[in-house]
């Protein structure tokens, strides 16, 4: 996922500079070049079309039927009733939306700034910086499902490390981190942040390295202190990184799934949109219509940051 925005930027940038002179450029290619190019562009496009766009269209279609997933003859038109069901009767839907928003705010307000802080600290020439970087980056290499399992060991009410450190393990007043629906979402978000912060840290470390050192020099010559230098000069200079990180944070919070699914299959206070989609689409109790409608809702929400991001990138390219 992380690679996609970067790739898109590169592709978009390439296309943008090529566009005005396309005609002349194309003529410089031999016939063979053009065949190779057509194949190299055509095949990925085709794969994308077949594996991503067609299923998307089918999902939209399926969201307007009642279907059990077994026989085509069982498919009955449903009109908007699946959507009506989701918005008015499906008790888990609005909590799930709220949980996704909370997830976004939590990553945005705590996870991402934490990653930035780590990056700034590790960018100083401190001893063992590499070791710290590795330590903070390790969670990024683990799958979120595995992270869910690891954190369950911390959170377990009777045998968990956390209650053990608090001295309440095995006592009746031990906090039920994952079972209490007022707390478990926060517990899950902390686990997700553990990984997200490392990810953001690596991206910002790269971003900080790319800031021209002469900018800092100029700032300090002008008498700016460390804080001013960072906030007024370095941070704005990292604008491309910032945008990528904003998009990544939004995407991470929309596709949050694995952690809560591992904890309790996303029930009892851990409902998320992605979980509801899976719950309705997979398994014995398939309700394809409702699941597809949920997927379409999630798609529409996801389109907002994607459109925002793409329109920004394209506009910038055009200006250049």
């Amino acid at each position: 996922m992380a690679v996609t925005p970067l790739e898109t930027t590169a592709a978009a940038a390439g296309q943008g500079t090529r566009a005005p002179v396309r005609r002349r450029r194309l003529r410089q290619f031999t016939a063979r070049d053009r065949v190779v190019l057509a194949i190299m562009v055509g095949i990925p496009t085709l794969i994308q079309l077949v594996l991503v766009w067609l299923p998307t269209l089918f999902s939209i279609g399926l969201s307007f039927v009642h279907w059990n997933g077994l026989d085509f003859s069982d498919m009955k038109p449903a009109g908007w009733s699946n959507y009506q069901y989701i918005f008015t009767q499906y008790t888990q839907f609005w909590p799930a939306v709220w949980h996704n928003i909370l997830w976004l705010l939590f990553l945005g307000v705590i996870g991402t700034p934490l990653g930035l802080l780590l990056a700034v600290l590790l960018d100083q020439k401190i001893r063992g910086s590499r070791i710290y970087q590795s330590i903070f980056f390790v969670p990024v290499m683990l799958s979120l499902a595995l992270i869910g399992i690891i954190w369950q060991l911390f959170y377990s009410q009777d045998n968990g490390l956390l209650n053990f450190l608090l001295g309440t393990a095995g006592k009746p007043n031990a906090v039920d981190w994952l079972g209490d629906s007022h707390i478990n979402l926060w517990a899950a978000m902390v686990a997700a942040t553990w990984r997200h912060a490392g990810y953001v840290m690596i991206l910002y470390l790269a971003g900080l390295k790319s800031v021209d050192p002469s900018l800092r020099e100029a700032a300090s010559l002008d008498g700016a202190n460390g804080r001013q230098t960072f906030l007024r000069v370095v941070f704005p200079a990292m604008k491309p990184t910032n945008i990528i990180i904003v998009v990544i944070t939004i995407i991470e919070s929309l596709r949050a799934f694995d952690v809560v699914y591992v904890i309790n299959k996303g029930t009892n206070g851990l409902e998320l949109l992605s979980v509801l989609v899976i719950q309705n689409l997979i398994g014995e109790g398939q309700v394809i219509g409702v699941g597809s409608a949920l997927a379409v809702v999630l798609l529409l929400i996801s389109l907002i940051p994607i459109v925002f991001y793409l329109s920004r990138t394209f506009r910038k390219d055009r200006l250049q």
């Binding site: 026989d71 085509f72 069982d74 008790t91 009777d158 209490d180 109790g285």
Partner: protein, 436 residues
């Protein structure tokens, strides 16, 4: 992972073709070719069955049941000289993939459950009618078991292997020390709970992190308050959820709620079983599979059982006793060896081969030799034998999505807040059953 080799690709293909097919209106031609591809896959998979051999898809992925089925299969092979290829799949994945499995290229015989879950696939024509097998094994089963193996069309589709009752489990030593008496009515149960709470115990062990165990409490309260038939009709959504009778179930539950483990939502049934084993809780409402958790023989010998107390109607007539057994896929229906294996499952000899390894369940065939039953097993079997009616479990008696998407979250919410919304339950039930 115990995946069927080659199966994932086939499953995915058929799913993709299905989704493609869904676009019939939009792209008629490609949908038609996708359909053709789909049927092609299905018939292609049928070539594995032949004279004297069959494939057997098993969801028994846990160590003990897996060995038990292996023992059954080898007993069958010895008897019939047919060759059985067993494909064991992780228990939950098997269930999750059942729709694709039955529509793709399923094994000839496979493990499944009685009740609505069986009838549903029978109605959809995805499993084979085995009424002829029942002609030979029918006399070996009680009427209740035959009823549980019968589809809506009156034909048989299922051969029971074992079943296990749900009820209260407790430690004899704790009860003796405190002088507790087995409650047979709701009032006695409530009084006992009060006494246990005073003694510093959690009266009723309870775990609902996985959302399904609470169905046991709901099922029993509904059957005891409104009768077996009402419970069945409610499961099949022939009765509305939005009526006083259902409200009564939750209101009665509210009496028990303060005595059930307050940490239920954070615990798995295994963790709650440990609490019973450690004498922290006084009793525990679960299926008899709970005994698998007591690895210490001394603790196991100290476990006893009593049936859910009477509440309003029908006394203690109904018992919740899910039945597991075997079915034939549509393709397996044409395989003589597969039919023979199901017939063998319906004999005492076949079930004994299974029970010899897995003793946490009870044999269902009448001529099964029960001399190896412990006193505890005999007690459990007695409860089932004496029952006038047998329910399966909410997620087996009702539409599975009604259980997972509607009732289970509603119960979790009820456990937290003591609140329930019958109008919403009914509205959701309507939407779920409309999709079928």
């Amino acid at each position: 992972m115990h995946e069927i080799p080659g199966a994932p690709e086939r499953l995915q293909l058929s799913r993709r073709s299905l989704i493609k097919g869904a676009g019939i209106g939009a792209i008629g031609i490609s949908a038609a070719s996708a359909l053709a591809a789909c049927t092609g896959t299905t018939s292609g998979g049928g070539s594995t069955s032949g004279g004297g051999s069959l494939t057997f898809g098993s969801n028994a992925s846990d160590a003990v049941p897996k060995k038990a089925y292996a023992s059954f299969v080898s007993a069958f092979e010895k008897k019939s000289h047919d060759k059985v290829t067993t494909n064991t799949v992780d228990h939950n994945s098997f269930q999750d993939k059942i729709n694709n499995y039955l529509q793709g290229s399923p094994d000839d015989a496979f493990t499944w459950f009685a009740g609505y879950r069986m009838q549903y696939y029978a109605k959809k024509g995805l499993v084979a009618d085995i009424s002829d097998v029942w002609d030979t094994i029918g006399s070996n089963y009680s009427d209740a078991l035959k009823k549980a193996s019968t589809g809506e069309d009156g034909k048989q589709y299922f051969v029971p292997n074992y079943n296990y009752p749900w009820g209260f489990f407790y430690r004899k030593s704790v009860w003796q020390a405190k002088g507790y008496q087995i409650p047979t009515t709701m009032d006695q149960l409530e009084a006992l709970c009060k006494q246990m709470k005073g003694d510093g115990l959690i009266p009723i062990g309870f775990a609902d992190k996985d959302a399904w165990p609470a169905c046991g409490t709901f099922d029993y309260l509904n059957m005891r308050l409104n009768g077996y038939q009402f419970h069945m009709d409610l499961c099949a959504h022939k009765e509305s959820w939005n009526q006083k009778k259902v409200g009564e179930v939750f209101n009665t539950w509210k009496i028990l709620l303060p005595y059930q483990d307050p940490n239920a939502l954070g615990m798995t049934w295994q963790e709650a079983a440990q609490k019973l084993g450690n004498k922290q809780s006084g009793m525990y409402l679960l299926g008899s599979f709970v005994t698998q958790q007591f690895t210490d023989p001394a603790v196991l010998a100290d476990i006893d059982f009593f049936a859910f107390p009477a509440v309003a109607v029908e006394g203690q007539d109904a018992v919740e006793a899910p039945i597991d057994g075997l079915m034939l896929s549509k393709k397996g229906g044409q395989n003589k060896a597969a039919r023979d294996m199901l017939a063998f499952m319906g004999t005492g000899k076949g079930q004994e081969a299974y029970f010899a390894v897995d003793k946490s369940n009870l044999m269902t065939a009448k001529d099964a030799d029960i001399s190896s039953y412990s006193a505890f097993n005999k007690k459990l079997a007695g409860v089932i034998a004496d029952a006038k009616s047998i329910s399966q479990f909410f997620d087996r008696d009702a539409l599975p999505s009604m259980a997972t998407n509607v009732l289970e979250p509603a119960m979790q919410n009820f456990i937290k807040s003591g609140k329930y919304d019958l109008a919403n339950l009914e509205a959701q039930a309507k939407a779920q059953y409309a999709g079928q």
